[in-house]
């Protein structure tokens, strides 16, 4: 699996962002101000910028730069905010309930974002390696078609053409496999037969896979099973490419609410302290 390297512009932005933030933190230190307050405000600013990426995607008709550029800004500020977050919490694991929640949520956001970055850079190439374009919306129909086609193949056989063990293996292992979902992790494919290893293991209770897959009447079914394995691989990759967003986006929403609450609390305590 080859991962596209990060954009040089994003790397430059990270460097500049860190230098500028360091300057402000040093200034705060020099004036004996609370560095956590300074890093907190800068962190809030970078978080707002991170959230703006989602808003920009909703208005593609406005001439405010390409979304691709915004994504690089999003990634750059994501890295800067990670460093700022660690500065903000003083490189320690928090002890309070509220800050622990914030810490965990931020970690989830960071991990899901990093995973998303990895997935988006690594998977598209592998997804197209077999030259096949699969529309996720059509996959259920394709799977249903495969089951029907394979049933037709078996129904079209002359009595006695397949031995009973193979037939039993078809109905108890192969057919359920064709009807099953793809799961979350990609199956390991047997290099010789082009079908999942798990399927081979289960089939061994009925008939030797070598005998089964070399059986002439079973060849059309074998072809369908191979197609299903390829389709499953596509579907798993597509699930990964979308799945990380199911964590990243809701956690962002919760984080926004928690940060607002955090700012209100800090400001309130500061005002109370001043009195």
């Amino acid at each position: 699996m080859k991962i596209r390297p990060p954009h040089s512009g994003a790397l430059l932005l990270i460097l500049i962002g860190i230098v500028v933030s360091l300057y402000f933190l040093e200034q705060a230190d020099a004036t004996l101000a609370n560095p956590a307050v300074t890093s907190g405000w800068i962190l809030l600013g970078s978080f707002v910028l991170l959230c703006l990426y989602g808003a920009r995607k909703k208005v593609p008709f406005l001439p405010i730069g390409k979304t691709a550029t915004w994504l690089q800004l999003h990634l750059g500020f994501g890295v800067i905010s990670t460093w700022l977050f660690l500065e903000h919490v003083g490189y320690r694991f928090p002890t309070g309930l509220f800050e622990t929640h914030l810490y965990v949520l931020y970690s989830l956001l960071l991990i899901s974002g990093f995973l998303g970055w990895l997935v988006m850079r690594a998977l598209p190439e592998t997804l197209r390696a077999d030259g096949r374009e699969v529309n996720p919306l059509r996959i259920p129909d394709e799977l249903a078609g495969m089951v029907k086609k394979s049933d037709d193949c078996i129904a079209g056989l002359e009595p006695g053409e397949l031995n009973p063990e193979i037939l039993k293996g078809y109905f108890e292992v192969v057919r359920p496999y064709l009807c099953s979902g793809c799961g979350v992790l990609p199956s390991r494919i047997h290099p010789e037969f082009g079908v999942p290893q798990t399927l081979i293991q289960r089939l061994q209770d009925y008939e030797s896979p070598t005998v089964l897959f070399s059986s002439e009447p079973f060849l059309p079914v074998h072809k369908i099973v191979r197609e299903k394995a390829v389709l499953d691989l596509h579907q798993v990759r597509q699930r990964w490419m979308r799945g990380w967003l199911f964590v990243h986006v809701p956690v962002t929403g919760v984080m926004v609410l928690m940060i607002i609450l955090h700012v209100i609390l800090v400001t309130a305590f500061k005002a109370g302290g001043a009195q």
Partner: protein
């Protein structure tokens, strides 16, 4: 081959049109008048003697249109598929470039304000195209298309700007109709008038049966064609007198099939070799008789390697072939043969400037130009990719949507962006031809040879004047689907029109739902330009102009590595 009518007119293709140009028959008095007083009189008897009745052709392919004073009949730069013969009243052609500003299409290029653009975001999405409620009860199919008008005093205009009256019975609009090129002049109604409009299919059928009219039109076109030299990279700086001389001495040729788009899908399915189907314009190794300048269409440049023809480049309008050979010739006394072959991909018009005239008139002008840039071997694209682009006629595109599959994550943000900017109805499909990691999506390419324009009975689909984009004026579209059938790339669709209540608008005459053609308009009214390009977070979606060789090769190189 007849230079005016084209090389391979096919009877079955000509007779395949199944609807008349107009529901109303041409009146007898108009036919009688045209027979004796119009340019058609040249061809009338000749056609009759060949068993072809011009009357029947006119009944099928002509209509009479009435214009009011100051109506714009033809707009310079527009693509039209018909010729016009004034039969009553006065019409004039505008010959003054400075006056063209009065003929510009209104309200097409106007971009939305930011506020107006943002409003789109809050619109309810509908499953199909929607029209405003004020037109919901109108019968759009039978509605007469709106005729644009000049917003100035005609008499004042004629005194201020250079115009020429087109006499009764004379012909105009023939270059655009027969050559599939833009209209060369704007024409307007000086007084209330009637015009006989003959669509290109009809005029071609007449020309096929009348050599006299063919020669007449050839002379007519020849008299005006020096104008086409202006605007070409090599010849634009030549004085007009030299352009006229070159025009008179050059050989104008038309190659390939005019109807390449009709059978394109079938040919694609047959998977037979495209190169073998293309007409050879210049054979490698043959005598190089001059400089080949492509006027319209596109051509393939091949090099014979062993027994195989290898594609090494392509030509688009304005491109030239033969510079290397002719420059070599000018330095030595020995004539060098053509180093490459040229083949017509579809229908092409080209001009061959004879070698002697090239040396005398054109060569001195080339001193300041980068000769490599004028060449035909475009960038660093591989033969496989050139074949992919040429076999599928993708080089026709000025704004071809190309997707880098190495970067595309199937997020569909491009489709969603297109939907947001078009009332919830995306104008393209993120699927299409593939070559390795490159995909050409099913989106309008805004072609250099927009065959979809030919045959549109109302001119609703047209080339936008300032940008050259192909757009559909919704109010003028009658949903006849001629553009849908003509587009060889399946990039245009028809959709049912709904009124404001979500009910389909029914044509009162046919009882069928009113349809409108729809396709990518490059977000012509959006402040951002194409929303799809803006929306792609991974920079996977590009719009390619195949005239820009360096742009093509840089994007292709980035995609294919």
């Amino acid at each position: 081959m007849c230079p005016v009518t084209g090389s391979d007119m096919n009877d079955s293709e000509e007779n395949s049109r199944d609807y008349r140009f107009s529901n109303e028959a041409i009146p007898r008095e108009v036919l009688d008048w045209a027979r004796f007083n119009s340019v058609l009189s040249i061809a009338w008897d000749e056609c009759e003697s060949r068993g072809k009745s011009i009357e029947s052709i006119l009944q099928m392919d002509a209509r009479v249109i009435e214009y009011q004073k100051a109506d714009i009949i033809i707009r310079k730069g527009d693509y039209g598929g018909s010729v016009l013969i004034p039969i009553e009243g006065e019409i004039r052609a505008n010959l003054d470039e400075s006056g063209e500003k009065f003929f510009l299409r209104k309200n097409v290029t106007r971009r939305r304000s930011w506020l107006s653009a943002l409003k789109q975001f809050f619109r309810w999405q509908t499953p199909v195209e929607r029209i405003s409620s004020d037109s919901s009860n109108r019968n759009l199919y039978s509605e007469k298309s709106r005729v644009p008008r000049l917003d100035i005093n005609i008499e004042e205009y004629m005194t201020k700007y250079l115009t020429r009256r087109i006499g009764l019975g004379e012909i105009c609009g023939e270059i655009a109709a027969l050559r599939r090129s833009p209209r060369t002049a704007s024409v307007f109604a000086e007084t209330d008038c009637k015009v006989l409009e003959i669509r290109w299919q009809g005029i071609r059928e007449i020309l096929k049966n009348s050599k006299e009219l063919s020669y007449y039109l050839e002379d007519l076109i020849g008299d005006r064609r020096h104008q086409i030299f202006s605007g070409m990279k090599v010849l634009t700086n030549l004085p007009e007198s030299v352009q006229r001389t070159l025009s008179a001495r050059s050989i104008f040729e038309r190659w390939g099939s005019d109807h390449w788009n009709r059978h394109f899908r079938k040919i694609m399915q047959s998977k037979s070799s495209m190169i073998d189907r293309e007409a050879v314009v210049l054979q490698q190794g043959h005598h190089m008789d001059g400089l080949y300048v492509l006027l319209s269409g596109f051509a393939r440049v091949t090099n014979k390697e062993g027994s195989e023809e290898k594609t090494v480049g392509y030509l688009r309008p304005g491109d030239v072939y033969g510079l290397k050979e002719l420059l070599k010739d000018s330095k030595s006394s020995v004539s060098s043969p053509a180093l490459r072959s040229i083949r017509a991909v579809g229908a092409i018009d080209l001009v061959v400037i004879p070698s002697n005239d090239f040396v005398e008139y054109v060569l001195p002008e080339l001193k300041n130009l980068d000769i490599d840039q004028l060449g035909s071997e475009k960038g660093l694209i591989s033969t496989e990719l050139l074949n992919f682009f040429l076999d599928r006629r993708i080089v026709n595109g000025n704004q071809t949507m190309v997707i880098d599959l190495n970067r595309c994550t199937d997020c569909d943000d491009c489709v969603k962006a297109c939907a947001v900017t078009h009332d919830g109805n995306p104008r393209f499909i993120r699927e299409g031809y593939r070559h390795a990691k490159l995909m050409v999506a099913t989106a309008c390419m805004h072609c250099i040879d927009p065959v979809c324009l030919i045959g549109c009975p109302t001119g609703a689909i047209h080339r936008e004047h300032t940008t050259g984009n192909v757009v559909i004026t919704r109010s003028e579209c009658i949903g006849c689907a001629s553009c849908v059938e003509s587009c060889p790339y399946d990039n245009i669709r028809t959709v049912e029109v709904q009124d404001a209540n979500g009910e389909p608008v029914i044509d009162l005459e046919t009882g069928k739902p009113v349809l409108k053609a729809t396709k990518c308009d490059l977000c012509i009214d959006q402040p951002s330009g194409p929303a799809c390009v803006n929306a792609c977070p991974h920079d996977a979606l590009h719009r390619i102009n195949f005239s820009d060789a360096s742009g093509v090769s840089s994007i292709v190189e980035r995609i294919t590595g």
